[in-house]
């Protein structure tokens, strides 16, 4: 029986190794290889790709510190963090409101939340071009109502990218938060009111702490794909503002510097790992605390 259990897992294990572990190892290997003259790479081990993240070699061979790529990494982490925080703040009331609806309405609303996933991501992000663009819905409304004539460009900046990313990933926050609020025992909220807590205190001391697992799960689901966002910078950032995803894509595409692309990809993976590790440790400490 025990033997069957081990062998029974074999297909899943093969799939994991073939589609996840092997490709990652290939990327690691490429990141330590030498750049080929026409793209691709040569099997000559070097750490040049990693050095390139921090330093540039000048024409005469001198090595200079170059913050250009660090700025891209910092911008990526910052935008992903902001996206996650904004999604949390927006998703919570929406999820809470959905839990208050009747059964059928709740189902319909949940389907509505996932509805954007039925449409291609490119189309959805493209729609924001029309909303935010010159002569777009927002600009026109502001002008026609006479609020302001000159609002500057809404597009092609960090803010536009942020709007696009929040829009793209917020369903991934709403769903787990909804699940955690739904599990909340309404008697606990009544008990809180009964014990002289106002609505605000109840939210802060009872509802939010008990919904934390849902918020944490949503944070992972939003933060990780936000780090790898490629479309939003291209369409809403106008291709002028780069994130790590674009940088990686460019190295394997136009720039034909595979080892450098692989090295940045590894950096991206490290950021994700660090975040997940932090989350996991937190959850573990909490579980241990509860057992004691």
């Amino acid at each position: 029986m025990r033997e069957f259990r081990i062998w029974g897992l074999l297909p899943a294990q093969i799939l994991m190794v073939a589609t996840l572990i092997v490709p990652v190892l290939i990327i690691v290997a490429v990141s330590f290889a030498t750049r080929g003259p026409y793209g691709g790479f040569d099997f000559v081990p070097t750490t040049a790709a990693y050095r390139q993240i921090l330093f540039t070699e000048g024409w005469s061979g001198e090595v200079e510190f170059n913050p250009q790529y660090l700025i891209i990494i910092a911008r990526t982490v910052l935008l992903a963090t902001l996206t996650t925080l904004i999604c949390m703040v927006l998703a919570f009331p929406v999820a809470y409101w959905i839990t208050l609806q009747k059964r059928t309405a709740r189902t319909i609303l949940l389907v509505a939340v996932t509805l954007p996933f039925w449409v291609s991501m490119i189309v959805r992000v493209y729609a924001w071009l029309i909303i935010l663009g010159n002569d777009g819905v927002i600009e026109k409304t502001l002008r026609l109502t006479g609020i302001t004539d000159d609002i500057g460009s809404l597009l092609f900046n960090n803010r536009a990218m942020l709007v696009g990313m929040v829009y793209s990933y917020i369903p991934l926050m709403i769903l787990p938060v909804f699940a955690s609020i739904e599990k909340l025992d309404p008697a606990l909220i009544e008990a809180s009111h009964d014990l002289h807590a106002s609505r605000a205190v109840t939210l802060r001391r009872v509802i939010l702490p008990l919904c934390w697992p849902g918020l944490a799960a949503g944070a992972i689901l939003v933060f990780v794909p936000s780090l790898g966002a490629v479309l939003e910078p291209i369409l809403l950032g106008g291709g002028k503002i780069m994130m790590m995803g674009n940088l990686i894509q460019m190295q394997f595409g136009g720039a034909r510097n595979w080892p450098f692309g692989a090295a940045v990809a590894i950096m991206l993976m490290c950021v994700v790992m660090a975040f997940l590790l932090f989350n996991g440790l937190r959850a573990m400490r909490k579980a241990v605390g509860e057992m004691a």
Partner: protein, 344 residues
């Protein structure tokens, strides 16, 4: 009110200070709705709720000096017992010194000091019950509401907690409003019981009053066990009524709420007031044993007299003759003063 269904008709009663007051009734009788109105979770469409003469109708739950012990305790799972008990005090703005002292006092009161740092999930049902009690008592409410607090416990624990609750009420001198569907619980603990049925007050009185002098058929049926007989009303004389039983016996029996215009009335006779065999006295009848149920402390018989099945219970004692066999012929007797004639 649930939707457009009227959960409660007009209900009006006073609860005294330092009283163990019980709202008793079958499920769906509106007793929990009534309790939730006192707590403030539900708003009556009409009427007034006053606490010590002060109208609390418009106050939200967190501004009422009333605390609740919930049916499934509703302890906060992310807080330790200490934090659970301190929660109400912190919300009232108690200084931390005073809060700490009160929490320790409450934990001591319910014998849970050892577990102060535990979380609710690490406790047994009875322990959670005690913590829920301590948490509700801590903010010094003027009234403590208890919503079927014992229903989630097993029998032995339930009986132990009954005594603890009663002792706690005496010790604190607080007004307890207790909701239950368990008549035994109500009789055991209450100073006064309000029997609710069909959204109305059926009777309000001491446990003894309610058991021995039920005002109507509903109460007599709901509290304890009884035999009902449809009898003809002959005449009423003050508190007594003269009735004729289907067996042709004329009896003079204490009456409640009977109007002289009624022809058919109900006669209620408790199983333990009927004597069997050599204990039979008063009005004597003869019947056949149809069924016997041995229940430890007492045995319950169903005895057929004419075409009526009469339920009789007899206390078992160490020198009892063996239980009466089914099919045996037996003498049974009762005193008319022990029976009650009830209006509808």
């Amino acid at each position: 009110m649930f939707g457009d269904f009227q959960a409660l008709e007009t209900v009006s009663f006073d609860i005294h200070d330092n009283e163990f007051f019980t709202l008793l009734g079958p499920s769906g009788c509106g007793k929990t709705t009534l309790l939730r109105m006192i707590a403030g979770f539900e708003v009556p469409t009409t009427g007034r709720i006053a606490l010590h003469g002060k109208d609390i109708q418009g106050l939200p739950p967190h501004k009422r000096r009333v605390n609740t012990v919930f049916q499934n305790y509703a302890l906060f799972p992310h807080m330790t017992l200490e934090q659970n008990i301190a929660y109400g005090l912190e919300n009232l703005g108690w200084p931390s010194e005073k809060t700490r002292a009160r929490v320790a006092e409450m934990l001591d009161l319910v014998h849970m000091s050892k577990f102060a740092r535990r979380k609710p999930q690490q406790l047994s049902g009875g322990q959670r019950q005690r913590v829920a009690l301590a948490r509700a008592l801590a903010p010094e409410p003027e009234v403590l509401l208890l919503d079927e607090p014992l229903s989630a416990l097993d029998l032995k624990l339930r009986q132990a907690m009954r005594e603890e609750l009663r002792a706690l009420q005496r010790q604190t001198g607080l007004t307890f409003v207790f909701v239950t569907h368990d008549q035994e619980e109500a009789l055991d603990m209450s100073d006064r019981i309000c029997v609710l049925g069909g959204g109305r007050i059926q009777q309000l009185g001491t446990p003894r009053d309610i058991y021995e002098n039920p005002t109507n058929r509903f109460v007599a049926n709901f509290i304890g066990e009884t035999n009902f007989f449809d009898v003809d009303l002959l005449s009423i004389d003050g508190n007594m009524a003269r009735v004729r039983t289907p067996l042709g016996l004329d009896l003079t029996v204490p009456q409640r709420n009977v109007r002289s215009s009624q022809q058919k009335v109900t006669l209620s006779l408790r199983p333990e007031t009927i004597g069997l065999g050599d204990q039979a006295s008063g009005e004597i009848m003869t019947g056949t044993v149809v069924a016997t149920n041995y229940l430890g402390g007492h045995t319950q018989y169903i005895i057929r007299v004419g075409d009526m099945d009469i339920r009789v219970s007899r206390r078992n004692s160490w020198n009892d003759a063996e239980t009466l066999a089914e099919g045996a012929t037996v003498k049974l007797g009762f005193h008319p003063e022990a029976a009650r004639v009830l209006g509808q």
